[in-house]
């Protein structure tokens, strides 16, 4: 970083003046972050802190753990968390299976063509998630594009229920999350030293051996970084499962809004939120043991 000034020679022109000014300005410069800090306090720190305290109050406003006890006592809460983790794992897994070959392809073609092919990843990435969710809803409906297409080709005979269930939710979520995996994974693959593969070939490795024993292990940090972003985003996902799940796939975020809409129970909703936040941090903390966190955060839109 540029924080430490270049060593001044004592006899240099204005050396002391410059050093004093630099020190004073270093503090003034940090004050530039104040507007952003105040905004974050107003929007995140105070509201989330408030929810945190609400989660420890019962309906009469007394301090209690009743909201957390309910979560353990009622099977429905447990089921929601199970569904959330299941859907997040499945989405992440599918993103890796589908995203890895694409990132590999992008990393192998000459750089001058990458821009063009990369557009196929960036175009969905730039497009509103609500628009893409809507497109899937349209395509997956009973008389939608996919059913009609499959029936015309004779793959299945009667319309299959694709939307408003787990399948629809997964399809939509994988499509929306894929760029979040491909972009960091591609960057990691480009960083792999190609000499390592040449060396492997020189030493007699077949292309398949070189791929599995050299390329894949070296690309793993990219896989971990990308899947971490996807997994964490999935944990708090709301829009796509709410639209494509049709009420059959209830994730934590949907349960929170449902509790607020139906019962107006802030304590219960807050407690769910706190557990969601804690699980998100736990996943990130666990992952940060394996890689630098700031390189992961780089990828999210």
């Amino acid at each position: 970083m540029t924080s430490s000034p270049a060593p001044h020679r004592e006899d240099a022109l204005n050396a002391t003046k410059l050093r004093v000014a630099e020190r004073r300005q270093s503090l003034m410069v940090l004050a530039l972050t104040l507007p952003a800090i105040i905004a974050v306090c107003l929007v995140i720190v105070i509201p989330v802190g408030w929810l945190f305290s609400l989660s420890f109050l019962d309906s009469s406003g007394d301090l209690s753990l009743v909201n957390y006890e309910k979560m353990i006592a009622y099977k429905s809460y447990l089921r929601v968390f199970k569904t959330t983790f299941n859907v997040s794992f499945l989405t992440t897994f599918l993103c890796i299976v589908i995203g890895y070959p694409l990132a590999y392809f992008l990393s192998q073609i000459p750089r001058k063509y990458v821009g063009l092919f990369m557009l196929t990843v960036l175009l969905p990435f730039w497009t509103s998630l609500l628009v893409r969710t809507y497109a899937w809803l349209v395509m997956l409906q009973r008389n939608g594009l996919i059913n009609n297409f499959a029936i015309d080709l004779g793959i299945w005979e009667v319309p299959v229920k694709l939307a408003h269930n787990l399948n629809g939710t997964l399809i939509g979520m994988v499509h929306i999350m894929l760029p979040f995996l491909v972009l960091p994974l591609y960057a990691a693959m480009r960083r792999i030293d190609r000499h390592a593969l040449q060396a492997a070939a020189n030493l007699g490795a077949t292309p398949v051996q070189a791929f599995w024993q050299i390329f894949v292990p070296l690309s793993l940090p990219g896989v971990v970084a990308g899947s971490l972003i996807v997994f964490v985003l999935c944990l708090g996902f709301y829009v796509t499962p709410a639209v494509l799940g049709g009420g059959k796939v209830i994730l934590v975020s949907m349960q929170i809004t449902a509790i607020l809409e139906d019962q107006f129970n802030w304590g219960a909703a807050s407690a769910l939120g706190v557990v969601l936040l804690v699980s998100t941090f736990a996943v990130l903390l666990l992952a940060s043991r394996f890689l630098k966190l700031d390189s992961v955060m780089f990828g999210r839109r």
Partner: protein, 273 residues
């Protein structure tokens, strides 16, 4: 030598042996792009049911969109909120990124982490939390509350872009300007900022799109006359599949890809110069 027999990588594998990879990648790219753009042709359909390909072409759903005050109001709100968010988040984020980059240190790390929390905290929590607190402050259903929340979501994005631009920038130029008698303030605006202008523009556009496309916070914090376009679309989606949304979606795709593609082309031009 034919193309498919030529070497494709360091391991002497030929393009012919790689053909399966090219096919697979092609299929995946189609799966990424087609669902994104499929609503564009569908939006020009004459039918009540979205069909592909449309039997009869018409601008019916665009008329519907333009003639419905509800949609027009929501569009105006979204543009207003997104523009204000851009105008607030870009200077806030740029200032924060510059401040953290120049000063560094332990305190800087803590501040950086704090400013990045909007990327980690699930948005649903921010949405209900601000709904509660802003409700007490009386700024729910107001432009102010929405802009504030969207600004916080956009600041990390602005910071990431400006920080990576600063990494390739030589801050000594500011020192030179200062030693020649300029104030630090003037040095930043006359030396640094002009050289960062492309990154600042990118950051501003992303802040605009972040706000314009944001759904969950808008669902909670906007309402009445100040409902955003995404909120209206979301509630329309839950009830029935309104073909008007296909028309709106098309316009939104054109807006975001137009802005981003324009930026890339503009960026190519500035780097060539």
């Amino acid at each position: 030598m034919q193309w498919w027999k030529s070497s494709a990588s360091e391991t002497q594998i030929t393009h012919g042996q790689r053909l399966w990879l090219y096919c697979l990648a092609f299929i995946i790219m189609c799966l990424l792009v087609i669902p994104t753009v499929i609503v564009i042709p569908m939006s020009f359909s004459d039918s009540q049911y979205l069909e592909f390909p449309p039997q009869n072409w018409s601008l019916r759903w665009y008329d519907e969109y333009l003639d419905t005050p509800r949609w027009m109001n929501a569009t105006a709100t979204s543009f207003k909120v997104a523009t204000l968010t851009m105008l607030v988040a870009t200077p806030f984020g740029t200032m924060a990124a510059y401040g953290l980059f120049v000063s560094g240190g332990r305190l800087g790390k803590i501040v950086f982490f704090l400013l990045m929390t909007p990327m980690i905290v699930p948005v649903i929590l921010i949405a209900i939390g601000t709904f509660y607190v802003f409700g007490k402050m009386g700024i729910v259903n107001s432009i102010l509350g929405l802009v504030l929340a969207h600004t916080v979501l956009s600041v990390p994005i602005v910071m990431i872009i400006i920080t990576s631009a600063l990494r390739t920038y030589d801050l000594n130029q500011e020192r030179v300007a200062q030693s020649l008698g300029s104030t630090r303030f003037r040095a930043f605006f006359e030396i640094t900022l002009p050289q960062l202008k492309f990154s600042v523009l990118t950051a501003a556009l992303l802040a605009f799109l972040t706000s314009f496309d944001e759904v969950i916070i808008s669902i909670f914090l906007s309402g009445g006359g100040n409902s955003t376009l995404t909120k209206q679309m979301f509630s329309a989606l839950r009830d029935y599949i309104d073909p008007t949304i296909a028309a709106i979606s098309t316009l939104m795709i054109l807006l975001s890809t137009g802005l981003m593609l324009g930026l890339q082309l503009f960026g190519d031009k500035t780097t060539e110069e």
